[in-house]
């Protein structure tokens, strides 16, 4: 049996490692099989340096038409499963065709790699970066090994960051004025603001602030929009009267947010919204949704 199993097993093991692997930050990544693994974290313009070790299984020789390593940036749309769209593809030849008898180490380097998009794992779309080592062979299938890594890009704080301020209402029924101190938030930010009640003629029960993520994929008639509510945060309990102002302080850190992605390679967008919901005693909901921009801030992460 062992022999048989051995027959289908690739004749060699491939290990991909980064030179600064020990010191580099690791972040969790959810794999397709549902397991979470820790992988290395990069950002755009970084040098991706490491080595590939190929170790033939004892006593076997591997005949090949060459060894190469690719750095791929892929977008995978779930409605189009199996079709990867590579927006980045870099190749390094590691070895000329020949035979491998023993363990061999190939250093590689991609310098100042342009990785404009962040890794993203959404409802209908996934954006991932991988290193792919291929040992090309004649007659038999190539031997391939992947190594995921995560890319996150940091943005400096926006120079213009206006508050969101708005007066909304239902005539002769409810008038409120709300204010969020900023329109752009980093991922560990705090939403500060307040709601000022100008007129209250309905019996409110409570008020909450929702953080919603809107992911749209595809384009034209094939656009899929998926909205998730990531946070429900109760702001007020009970019925306010005219003139009351209710403070808002919502810490974003507990929630799994990403930066806002606008039209990533014409494939998808991810947007964030604050949804202010007022619920009356008959459970009718009155709401107002406002887009906010999320960005990743270096200092805060």
């Amino acid at each position: 049996m062992n022999y048989l199993v051995g027959a289908f097993k690739p004749p060699c093991n491939i290990f991909i490692s980064f030179t600064d692997g020990r010191s580099r930050k690791q972040v969790p990544l959810k794999k397709e099989n549902g397991k979470t693994v820790m992988v290395a974290l990069f950002q755009s313009q970084e040098n991706i340096v490491g080595e590939v070790v190929i170790e033939p299984i004892h006593g076997k020789k591997v005949e090949h038409n060459g060894v190469k390593i690719e750095l791929l940036g892929q977008i995978e749309l779930y409605f189009d499963r199996g079709n990867f769209y590579d927006f980045t593809s870099l190749v390094r030849e590691l070895d000329v065709p020949g035979e491998l008898y023993e363990r061999k180490t190939y250093p590689f380097e991609f310098s100042t790699v342009e990785m404009p998009y962040e890794s993203y794992n959404g409802v209908n779309v996934r954006l991932r970066y991988i290193l792919k080592v291929t040992i090309s062979r004649n007659y038999v299938s190539n031997i391939v090994e992947y190594q995921d890594f995560v890319v996150r890009n940091y943005t400096p704080p926006p120079s213009i960051n206006n508050s969101i301020k708005m007066e909304v209402g239902i005539e002769d029924c409810l008038h409120i004025e709300f204010e969020y101190s900023k329109s752009k938030y980093h991922l560990k930010d705090v939403i500060i603001g307040k709601i000022y009640f100008l007129l209250v003629r309905i019996k409110l029960k409570n008020m909450e602030l929702e953080i919603r993520r809107r992911e749209s994929t595809g384009s034209g008639p094939n656009t899929y929009v998926e909205t998730e509510t990531l946070a429900k945060f109760e702001l007020m309990d009970g019925a306010p009267v005219r003139g009351e102002s209710i403070p808002i302080r919502l810490f974003l850190s507990p929630y799994e947010l990403t930066p806002t992605y606008r039209n990533i390679n014409n494939k998808f967008s991810v947007k964030y919204y604050l949804n202010l919901v007022l619920v009356d005693e008959e459970d009718r909901r009155y709401f107002k949704q406002q887009e906010i921009t999320m960005y990743r801030n270096l200092e805060a992460s």
């Binding site: 946070a231 945060f233 007020m236 309990d237 009970g238 009267v241 403070p247």
Partner: protein, 789 residues
């Protein structure tokens, strides 16, 4: 529908069970130093407090359970060796909770540790907490949450001398914090009133009063802050508290909070901020019981004043009285709908205040009464019995304080207030006044005061217009009039001039009292005048001829007029007695014609007015008795009068009465004075006549009823015989006495006589007396020796 209370019990039990259940997991997390789990389960536990189903009382029970658990959680939070998170991070961490109520309870809990750690200025944390709590707008939940905040922050305020005081944290921050929490709590509390259906108003008010102490506690905290000195209280605390009180426009809150302010802050502060405090009163809702509020304030200030004499100058300095007085005026003006009773109660309190604080300032008292008159004059007719009671209290207060009606009489507004009472109350008040005079034995000594006094009690003196006479209770009426009669005796002045004036005034007032009152008042008046007469006699030498009005003659004229007024009643018996009394006085003054005149009047009354035989008997005996004592008459006048008296005696209806009157007349001819008349013969004539009548009476009795008549009459006559015998009337001999005794014995033994134990005893003791006199020996013994028994 299920029974409401039963349901509530069920819900409460469920809530408690929920708390216990979650607390169990929380404890486990605490024991294993698991912060994440601890936060999770504590938030779940606190979620039980989100219920809307419980009344405040039940909610409180639930709250207390959670409160105990939070104390445990606090201990865990405090010890960062257990959870390894800094307090700053913890402060953020607890804010991740999705539900606001658990979040804020946790925030307050961590906040208190945050302050304690001094990693941030106390004021920042406090300000943050009190601001964040705005998120809970539900009245009951909000009140309890803020009450929790007040509770945990109490010992962490940056007060003077507190460890939390620093450059950045001043006592002002502490005050700001408490004031803000107070304001928000009050708003929530007031809001309760306007939520829910209108028909359960009563229930809601009850629920609200159960919560009042939560709100009031803030004021108590304020009063406990060391740094709140008079200056700060005056400039910041009071104005801001009052602003809230006034603006909340809720009667329940306003009443409770005003009272609370008055009770928790020191008296000294109140005194120094009277103007501000009082300025708020007219701005309160018309339904607020301002009178009680002000009354309590005045009570407190009164007690403060009473506590030490040292503080009195302060009262003067701040012009407490005029401020209070103004405030009351404004309140009454502002609250047009305030019932009369409210206004008057206020005046009563003010009066009590001034009586305690400025007992020497009668003008204040008068001012209060004046203000009250003004208020009352706007009310056409005071019909509210409670208001009436308050007016009585108002009028009684000065009497009680000064123990002296004389003081009250100098108050010009006093009678004007009384005018506004209804007839019954007016009388009641008049009685109070009289009783006060009686109790204190105060003597009213000037005519002016008497005039005022009678003005005050005029309800008792005469019938008031429109009074329903039928309603009068006979006994009450008698008591009232007796009191007036007693009062007249309290009016006295040593100076005859003034006394005469007093009498004239009293007469003027009493004469209009009508036939029902005169019998009560006239006799007092007469005796009062007679006293003046005696007084006059005592100092006769000095004043004779000095003043024409002051002669005894003049007084007698007055007396005659007074007594004549009784003819209108008519009350001849009383008039007769009074005439006789006057006659005696005239006798004392040695004025024969006046005495004669009085007797004439008495006889005229007897002839014309006294028809009742019993009254006649009494009257004739009175006349005889008085006449016997007269020594002013000349022979002629005396003869006329005695003749009349004997004549009338013999003409009485009943034989027994005749007999007795006649033997009484015998005394008219024998006066034991040195130069008194001693006409033994006529004495004997009288006695004999009496005997004849007694005989006739006996026979009549035999004829009429077949039994013996009154033997006692004989015994009585025997006694008269013995009297005159003893006094040395030569016409009365021992044999005559002996004969009489035998006659009596015969009568007694006769078959027709009914045994009469009284008469027997009478006779026996009479005989014993004779025996006794015999044994005495000496002149008397000798004299009696001749009587053989």
């Amino acid at each position: 529908m299920l029974n409401g209370t039963e349901d509530e019990e069920k819900w409460l039990a469920e809530g408690i069970a929920g708390i216990q259940h979650k607390a169990f997991y929380m404890h486990r997390a605490l024991d294993s130093n698991n912060l994440r789990e601890a936060l999770k389960y504590s938030a779940q536990m606190l979620s039980e407090l989100r219920t809307s189903k419980l009344s405040p009382r039940k909610y409180y029970e639930l709250y207390m359970r959670a409160f105990d658990e939070l104390k445990r959680l606090e201990l865990f939070f405090k010890d960062d060796s257990k959870h390894g998170v800094s307090v700053v991070d913890l402060y953020e961490l607890v804010q991740h909770a999705g539900n606001i109520l658990p979040r804020l309870y946790l925030l307050c809990t961590v906040g208190s540790i945050y302050i304690k750690s001094k990693e941030a200025p106390a004021k920042e944390v406090l300000k943050d907490l009190v601001e964040m709590c705005r998120g809970v707008q539900h009245p009951i939940r909000g009140l309890f949450l803020r009450s929790y905040l007040a509770q945990i922050s109490r010992d962490k305020l940056p007060d003077i001398g507190s460890e939390y005081e620093g450059d950045a944290d001043t006592v002002m921050d502490a005050v700001d914090f408490v004031l803000q929490n107070f304001t928000e709590m009050n708003k929530l509390w007031v809001r309760m009133q306007h939520q829910g259906p209108g028909r359960v108003r009563e229930k809601r008010e009850k629920e609200r009063s159960e919560l009042q102490d939560l709100v009031g506690k803030n004021l108590h905290v304020l009063s406990q802050i060391e740094g709140v000195d008079l200056e700060m209280y005056k400039e910041t605390v009071l104005p801001r508290v009052l602003e809230q009180v006034v603006n909340c426009k809720d009667d329940l809150a306003q009443y409770y909070l005003m009272d609370c302010i008055i009770q928790v802050f020191p008296d000294e502060y109140h005194l120094q901020t009277l103007e501000t405090l009082l300025g708020a009163c007219p701005q309160l809702q018309p339904t607020v019981d301002v009178k009680t509020v002000l009354s309590r304030l005045m009570d407190r200030l009164s007690n403060y004043a009473a506590s030490s004499a040292d503080v009195l100058p302060e009262f003067l300095q701040v012009e407490a009285f005029s401020k209070l007085s103004n405030a009351i005026g404004k309140v009454i003006e502002a609250q047009v709908d305030m019932p009369a009773v409210g206004a008057i109660t206020l005046y009563v309190s003010l009066l009590t205040f001034t009586l305690r604080v400025h007992p020497d300032r009668l003008d204040h008292v008068d001012q209060v009464l004046g203000a009250c008159v003004k208020k009352l004059s706007n009310i056409p007719k005071l019909e509210d019995s409670r208001a009436m009671k308050q007016v009585v209290a108002l009028l009684s207060a000065p009497l009680e304080k000064y123990n002296d009606i004389v003081t009250a009489l100098t108050l010009s507004n006093y009678p004007r207030v009384m005018d506004h009472l209804d007839i019954g109350t007016n009388k009641l008040m008049a009685m109070v006044i009289i009783q006060s005079i009686m109790k204190n034995n105060s003597c009213i000594s000037t005519a002016d005061k008497v005039e005022v006094l009678f003005e005050l009690i005029k309800g008792l003196i005469k019938d008031t217009d429109g009074a329903d006479v039928d309603e009068l209770d006979e006994e009450d009426f008698k008591e009232e009039q007796n009191s007036v009669a007693r009062l007249i005796h309290m009016l006295y002045n040593d100076e005859p001039e003034e006394m005469l004036r007093i009498i004239c005034i009293v007469r003027k007032h009493t004469m209009v009292g009508g036939p029902k009152r005169l019998p009560f008042t006239v006799s007092s008046l007469v005796f009062s005048a007679l006293r003046l007469l005696r007084q006059l006699q005592g100092q006769e030498g000095d004043i004779v001829g000095e003043e024409a009005s002051m002669t005894p003659n003049k007084i007698f004229q007055l007396l005659t007029q007074i007594i004549e007024s009784l003819s209108a009643v008519p009350s001849p018996e009383l008039a007769l007695r009074l005439y006789l009394q006057c006659a005696e006085a005239a006798n004392g003054c040695d004025i024969e014609h006046v005495a004669y005149e009085f007797f004439t009047q008495a006889f005229v009354l007897y002839e014309e007015e006294i028809a009742d035989s019993k009254a006649q008997v009494t009257a004739i005996h009175l006349i005889i008795g008085t006449l016997q004592r007269m020594n002013v008459f000349g022979v002629e006048n005396r003869d006329t009068l005695t003749h009349k008296a004997t004549g009338y005696s013999a003409r009485l209806l009943k034989k027994a009465d005749q007999c007795r009157a006649v033997y009484a007349c015998s005394h008219l001819f024998w006066v034991n004075d040195q130069d008194g008349i001693k006409d033994g013969e006529r004495v004997l004539l009288c006695l004999k006549r009496a005997l004849r009548i007694a005989n006739a009476a006996q026979q009549m009795a035999n004829v009429a009823r077949g039994s013996g008549g009154p033997v006692s009459l004989f015994v009585e006559i025997l006694n008269k015989y013995i009297y005159f015998f003893e006094k040395g009337n030569k016409q009365i001999t021992s044999s005559a006495i002996q004969g009489l005794i035998e006659l009596i014995n015969t009568e007694m033994q006769s078959d027709s006589t009914n045994p009469d134990s009284v008469a027997d005893a009478f006779l026996a003791s009479t005989l014993r007396y004779i025996q006794f006199q015999k044994q005495k020996g000496g002149v008397v013994g000798e004299k009696f020796e001749s009587i053989k028994l």
